[in-house]
């Protein structure tokens, strides 16, 4: 509790004791009024002061003013105890709200406690702690066991296990050794590491993530906007209702029906209206639910960029996947060489050399299988044929390596491959020379991920890939994906997603999941773009709406479940708060509900709604 809250707690306790004391001694008349003014002023002086300032600033419908009118009114009617109690409970509610909000703010920022405070730089033989901001690219930094890696870099000395749980929610430590890239925000667990930084602190993963987290939920959801609009009309409406309730019934009954006006009764009922008029419960609980939901997701390694995305994710109807790197590991291995007219090794050498300029995973796997250093001087005239392959001249031989389409384009008949995987056909001097089969392994969690999505009520799952039809269909069948579109160039993926967007129902959202490499346009075209394996890839962090820190596809279903839970809580709070308030207004108008009920409708509902909102933070069992 901060100083302000502690002071309020003291005032609340003092008022409470005074009220008990006063109810025990039986005094009547003016002495009673004077004595009750003591606890009333102790608990309510700041509200009265703010109400006065509000009037001066022409802010009539603010909570302070309403509370002041309601309690002063009650006291004027002779209900000293009630008037003071209303003020007391209002303050208790405010204190609780400020405590709960402060607490969850802290909880959620603790989740993201990845900001490194310093970096150790070796200077003059000793270690010096400096601000990470001051470390230049290429500096050698030292990370001792137990410390956070402050800046992205490459390990130049030492090996260790890294704890990435603050970033990914994954508790399994990650091994690292000399020559490997490490990401800031991980905690070094076992050995001393010397790291050469490859980025400035501001460009490092940890800064990017913090930036994303701190600016999340600035994009407001429809529910939040609805509530702030509702609050804008609710308070004035209830106030005018109160005025009408105080004036109209007595006038009507005395002027037209010839009955006693009973002013006291109707004014009392009007005052209960004012107590219920505060929109606090709603206005606090909705953003708090979203904030807790985003925080809970963050704890599970799912970064959500705004509450609007969480809201949309709860309505997920279609999930579209990229294949490579999303459902598969993106690690390609040469599985075989078939139909070759020359020696397999030689064929592989030609293909690897022709593809030497490409950084595509397929080319990398060829180079890896070739296993010898690549002499680029042997290669000339390399030409990439838009997503289909390459042609080049290797040792004076015209080599074409790529998909079946490339062969067709060159007028060469490729041999059909019946094995699952990606096929690189090779032609030498215009004649077919065989093909190399490259297979990508499925991620261990992929099948489970699709099952969980179906279970979560996702209507359709679609896979998009640049792979051949056979390979794509086999993968889809194995995973249980219902629809697959293969042989797509990167640009085709956008138009395919647009096509799918038209086919889906109006209230369903389409989610695209990719690994963030080459699919930025698709990520932004879909209703929600999810990038996975974001550790170390800034492009993904920037293009996507939701970022999965590691590359486990099961996190997609987890994200949907977290969003659904959060939205369930949001709707619970909306219906509960509006329902109870509406009910109490009706009961208050007919005289069944008294001021005590009104206090419950105001403070009680708020406390319950806040407690319910905090539930969104717990996502472990989802």
């Amino acid at each position: 509790m901060n100083k302000k809250q502690k002071k309020m707690l003291v005032r609340i306790i003092a008022t409470f004791l005074l009220l008990i004391g006063l109810s025990l001694i039986g005094i009547t008349g003016y002495a009673r009024l004077v004595l009750y003014m003591i606890p009333y002023l102790v608990i309510g002086y700041d509200i009265l002061k703010k109400a006065l300032k509000g009037i001066l600033n022409r802010q009539v419908f603010d909570e302070n003013f309403l509370m002041a009118v309601a309690t002063v009114g009650a006291i004027a009617l002779g209900d000293y105890q009630e008037g003071t109690a209303v003020m007391l409970f209002y303050q208790i509610g405010e204190l609780f709200q400020s405590y709960a909000v402060g607490k969850s703010r802290k909880n959620i920022s603790d989740l993201m406690d990845i900001r490194p405070d310093y970096a150790n730089v070796e200077r003059d033989g000793g270690l010096e702690q400096v601000d990470p901001d001051e470390v230049e690219v290429g500096t050698l930094i030292v990370v001792q066991p137990g410390e956070k890696i402050p800046i992205d870099g490459i390990v130049v000395e030492g090996s260790s296990a890294l704890n990435t749980s603050a970033l990914t929610g994954e508790s399994l430590p990650r091994e690292t050794a000399e020559g490997e890239e490490v990401i800031s925000g991980c905690i070094n667990m076992t050995g001393l590491l010397k790291i050469r930084t490859t980025r400035e602190f501001g460009e490092s993963t940890v800064s990017k993530i913090l930036d994303l987290v701190e600016n999340s939920s600035s994009k407001k959801s429809r529910s939040e906007n609805f509530i702030s609009r509702f609050a804008r009309y609710y308070t004035p409406a209830v106030c005018y209702g109160a005025l009408a309730l105080a004036v109209l019934p007595p006038l009507i009954s005395s002027l037209w029906m010839g009955l006693a006006p009973e002013w006291g009764v109707w004014v009392y009922r009007a005052l209960t209206f004012l107590v219920i008029s505060c929109p606090c419960a709603l206005v606090i609980s909705i953003p708090l639910s979203f904030f807790a939901g985003i925080g809970g997701a963050g704890k599970a390694g799912i970064l959500v960029k705004g509450s609007n995305y969480l809201e949309a994710l709860a309505q997920t109807g279609w999930v579209v996947f990229d294949k490579t790197g999303t459902m598969t590991q993106g690690v390609f291995e040469v599985k075989g060489i078939h139909h070759n007219t020359i020696d397999g090794e030689k064929l592989l050498e030609y293909a690897a050399l022709a593809e030497c300029a490409s950084s595509h995973p397929i080319s990398k796997s060829l180079q890896k299988a070739y296993g010898k250093p690549i002499d680029r001087n042997r290669v000339a005239e390399i030409e990439e044929i838009g997503g289909n392959g390459v042609t080049a001249s290797v040792d004076g031989v015209a080599v074409a390596a790529g998909s079946g389409r490339l062969m067709e384009r060159l007028g060469i008949e490729p041999a059909v491959c019946h094995h699952p995987g990606t096929v690189v056909h090779v032609a030498l001097d215009g004649a077919y020379a065989g093909h190399i089969l490259i297979a990508d392994l499925l991620k261990p969690g992929s099948k489970e991920a699709i099952r969980q999505l179906n279970q979560a009520g996702v209507k359709n799952t679609v896979m998009l890939t640049g792979d051949r039809k056979e390979a794509a269909e086999q993968t889809a069948e194995e995973l249980g994906i219902r629809e697959v579109h293969s042989q797509l160039l990167p640009a085709d993926k956008v138009s395919k997603v647009e096509e799918l967007l038209e086919r889906k129902g109006p209230r369903e959202k389409l989610v695209f999941v990719g690994d963030g490499i080459n699919d930025a346009p698709v990520l932004s075209r879909a209703d929600i773009g999810i990038a996975m394996g974001a550790l170390g890839s800034d492009a993904a962090i920037e293009a996507a709406d939701i970022v999965l820190m590691d590359d486990d596809p099961r996190k997609i279903a987890a994200a949907v479940r977290i969003a659904r839970k959060c939205m369930r809580i949001v709707y619970e709070n909306i219906y509960f708060a509006i329902g109870i308030k509406g009910l109490c207004l009706v009961l208050g108008a007919v005289g069944i509900a008294n001021m005590w009920t009104a206090i419950f409708a105001d403070v009680g509902v708020m406390v319950l709604a806040v407690l319910n909102a905090i539930r969104a933070l717990f996502v472990k069992k989802l």
Binding site: K50, D62, V101, E214, S218, V283, I284, P287
Partner: protein, 72 residues
């Protein structure tokens, strides 16, 4: 141009009022107040004098909610 300011305010409805007050201020194109992170993100009209506009935003916020602060 967009800028982010730290704010201090106790209740969520007051934060909404601040947002509206900031939006109505001349020179402000769009304003979002995030109560949970206690931040105000202001997008200025082109050619607006940021400092003067923000002084005005602060004054307008104080008018709707006495107990608030915008850290400029």
């Amino acid at each position: 141009m967009k800028k982010t300011y730290r704010i201090e305010v106790d209740c969520a409805n007051c934060a909404n009022k601040m947002e509206e007050a900031a939006r109505k201020t001349g020179g402000v194109k769009e304003a979002v107040v995030n109560f949970m992170t206690l931040k105000m993100i202001v997008e200025f009209e082109e050619g607006a004098d940021v400092k003067a506009v923000m002084q005005e935003v602060r004054r307008n916020c104080k008018k709707v909610e006495d107990d608030c602060e915008v850290f400029l």
